[in-house]
């Protein structure tokens, strides 16, 4: 049992290492993942400032920009990851090795969280510097819990998508591109999602973990309880349940998809 746990942890750390080290070595990644989202954040901040919107709207946008980096990473480096692994010739190597499959997913997720957190931190610091952003954290413990639960649910979702797209071809790449803008809209990344109406906001929250997480973070970190769709405590509970369900589902799905891939021969075929 102890040996199995040790092996699991070894694989998690080994796979996470690739991402953590990548964050330090590839300057172009850092620029692409921080500068571009920051420019989008800046654009919205200036729109709100030009309209004379309350100061907390700057915070809305900055929090949205931070969560966007995690969302983008989840889509392109979690959901799509096995597609890239196949392209690089790694997928076969992984699958013929004895590694526990969930450990591989978890390693990707944890490495990704560490890597993306540095980008998120840069966006936050740049926002403080350029926009003099101040958070008004009323419940620090709750805020931290919500942030952790949001990442848990988001990367749990990434693990599910990754498992689902395990043997997918190039079509999934285009599919994800098409969904990007609607998700940005429904995710309320740059505005309070309640503006879409309670029903639409709740529906988006049920589909996209970041919608719920962002809503709770805005309430707890910007004292914006009037713009929330649900109480942050309830949102924390839902996010935690979402995370547990996603992680469990990913474990089931990855094994099923691997079996299907071995039966159909799709594991060994090149991406279309």
């Amino acid at each position: 049992m102890l040996k199995a746990v040790g092996f699991f942890v070894r694989v998690v750390l080994a796979r996470a290492y690739v991402r953590v080290i990548g964050a330090q070595r590839e300057l172009s990644w850092i620029i692409g993942d921080t500068l571009l989202p920051f420019l989008a954040v800046a654009a919205y901040v200036y729109v709100y400032k030009a309209m004379g919107a309350p100061e907390k709207y700057t915070g809305f946008v900055v929090l949205g920009g931070i969560i966007v980096t995690f969302w983008m990473h989840m889509i392109w480096s979690m959901a799509m990851q096995f597609f890239w692994e196949k392209e690089m010739g790694n997928l076969e190597r992984y699958l013929m090795s004895p590694l526990p499959r969930p450990a591989l997913l978890l390693g990707m997720a944890l490495g990704g969280i560490v890597m993306t957190s540095t980008r998120a931190l840069i966006i936050y610091l740049a926002s403080r510097l350029f926009f003099h952003l101040e958070f008004h954290v009323t419940e620090p413990g709750l805020a931290v819990a919500v942030f952790v639960a949001t990442l848990f649910a988001l990367y749990g979702m990434g693990m599910v998508l990754s498992s689902l797209f395990f043997i997918a071809g190039r079509g999934i790449y285009y599919g994800l591109q098409i969904t990007a803008e609607p998700i940005f809209f429904l995710g309320g990344f740059y505005f309070p999602v309640r503006q879409l109406g309670l029903l639409v906001g709740a529906a988006a929250a049920a589909l996209i973990p970041t919608t719920l997480g962002l809503d709770a973070l805005r309430q707890t970190m910007l004292d914006a309880y009037d713009t929330g769709i649900l109480s942050p405590n309830i949102e924390l509970l839902i996010l935690t349940v979402m995370g547990v369900v996603f992680v469990y589902a990913s474990v089931v799905i990855i094994h099923r998809m691997e079996d299907y891939g071995r039966r159909s021969g799709k594991l060994i075929l090149r991406n279309e």
Partner: protein, 350 residues
């Protein structure tokens, strides 16, 4: 099940297949053949002894890679069974995977952002091997493949050839009991291919209880390296023996290599001439010639064949006798050359 397992584990065979079969359903990319079944492996019975360097020789599309992918647990058989070190590759993947590894020639793997050494470390971690055990192996393999000077260089800064060497090294760093080498020298220059073959032989000499299954379409490689060779064609094993014994089957025959004008396929009547055992052609459209390799049971039949060639309006541009090789064994058995890629036969659709 436990009884079967114990019985199998103590078997003298490191790899065994029993009526192993794999069919693929052709998808829309196959256009008019879409929906048909492609038989990649057809009731293959194979026994590889522990400590053996066993070769699977056949043209592209013969089923060699399918066989290796099944044994490496990446593909399930459509029928029959396969065992590695006594464990069923379909039902006992958790027992098979820790003791195998595979290297496919011409491929690279790992992450460009990591150094050669970090990549090799990563792949040993996936087998649960602590770094203190893996490190000496990694260091040695980097030396063997000539990458010791580049071990701290990021892989995306290495040439494709060097990256292929990292991939080759990866296969040995987990110290597998059974190693699958799928066309290991594909894409390597002559010098690197020679070093690769030397190392394969050396590794097995140092580890006499380990087994290597190697696929290749280079008959010289199979001849030089393998203790035994299975000749595979269209999913079927058409012969299996030591290279010397296989060549013995064509020792009495005379092998000729003819170069004739034109690229049109030769008529069947050439094959039917008395004294012609079999012949295989390879056209060269660039030079507008056809190379004909022919096995004769009677050297005198060569004259008749040349007469037929000239009667058909083709000019004989070159002729020389050759020492029969495994290629001639293949030609004798199949009527084709190893360099021809042959799609596996399709079965009825639906």
């Amino acid at each position: 099940m436990g009884h079967i397992l114990n019985e199998r584990t103590t078997s003298e065979f490191s790899i065994e297949t029993v009526k192993l079969r794999r069919v693929f359903r052709l998808d829309r990319r196959a256009r008019r053949d879409a929906g048909k079944l492609l038989v990649a492996l057809d009731d293959m019975d194979l026994q590889v002894r522990r400590g053996e360097l066993f070769g699977c020789l056949g043209p592209n599309g013969a089923g060699k890679t399918t066989l290796i992918r099944i044994l490496a647990t990446l593909l399930t058989p459509s029928g029959g069974r396969a065992f590695v070190e006594g464990f069923d590759v379909h039902r006992e993947t958790h027992r098979v995977r820790p003791i195998i590894n595979m290297v496919s020639g011409g491929e690279t793997c790992g992450y460009g952002i990591l150094t050669a050494m970090e990549n090799l470390r990563l792949f040993t971690e996936l087998y649960g091997i602590p770094w203190r055990i893996a490190r000496p192996r990694v260091e040695r393999m980097l030396e063997v493949v000539g990458l010791d000077k580049f071990k701290r260089v990021r892989v995306n800064k290495l040439s494709t050839g060097l990256r292929q060497r990292v991939n080759f090294a990866r296969g040995f760093t987990t110290d597998p009991k059974v190693l699958f080498l799928d066309e290991p020298t594909t894409g390597l220059d002559v010098h690197s291919a020679r070093n690769t073959r030397d190392f394969i032989r050396q590794w097995l000499a140092e580890n006499p209880r380990k087994t290597i299954l190697l696929t290749t379409h280079y008959m010289a490689e199979a001849d030089e390296l393998c203790d035994r060779v299975a000749i595979i064609d269209r999913g079927l094993m058409v012969a299996c023996d030591t290279p010397a014994a296989l060549k013995k089957t064509v020792r009495r025959e005379t092998a000729l290599e003819l170069t004739i004008s034109g690229v049109e396929p030769p008529p069947d009547k050439w094959k039917r001439l008395e004294g012609v055992v079999n012949l295989a052609v390879e056209s060269n459209p660039l030079e507008k010639v056809t190379n004909v390799r022919v096995l004769l049971s009677d050297a005198g039949a060569g004259g008749m064949l040349i007469r037929e060639i000239t009667d058909d309006g083709r000019r004989l541009l070159g002729l020389h006798t050759i020492e029969p090789t495994l290629e001639d064994v293949f030609i004798k058995l199949t009527g084709r050359r190893l360099s021809e890629s042959e799609p596996a036969p399709t079965a009825g659709g639906g």
